[in-house]
Symmetry: C2
Subunit: 87 residues, 2 copies
């Protein structure tokens, strides 16, 4: 069964206060030269779906439940075990 | 300047209540066959670093500030503009 990784960010035209806070904190902590920080959500899950239904089902979940499509954008990809963020 | 995407999840042995809540809500919303849901953070930023310093500087930021290495794992990659979650 495919394992899916979904990345969610606020749309580019929406102010991201958490990203701004991170960006402003970094220089004081010794991390210089970092800009355009955006902070959002990352999800990973396994879905029991045939190949020809996979994209439609993942998009339906993302648009209907996992994100707020009015203010958020998302991108998803199939990952293998070695690509899991907690691998 | 490279654009970096960082994915952060709780370590696999740590209970993820948010992932559990999502997983348990999905069937009631009509999304079946989804398991092993984990929910974490996604960050994107631009960093002004030469190639030979990039990995060390991103890892230092991730381990020293962006994650809690006691309970969280992370994975990062260089992305191009088309791969931005808010593209």
């Amino acid at each position: 069964m495919p394992r899916i990784a979904v990345d969610v960010l606020l749309k580019r035209e929406i102010l991201d206060p958490q990203g701004r806070a991170v960006e402003e904190a970094l220089p004081g902590l010794g991390y210089d030269g970092v800009s355009e920080v955006r902070v959002g959500k990352h999800l990973e899950f396994v879905i029991d779906a045939p190949d020809d239904e996979l994209a439609a089902r993942v998009d339906a979940m993302c648009e209907g439940f996992l994100t707020n499509p009015v203010i958020e954008s998302y991108r998803w990809r199939v990952i293998d075990d070695a690509e899991r963020a907690d691998a």
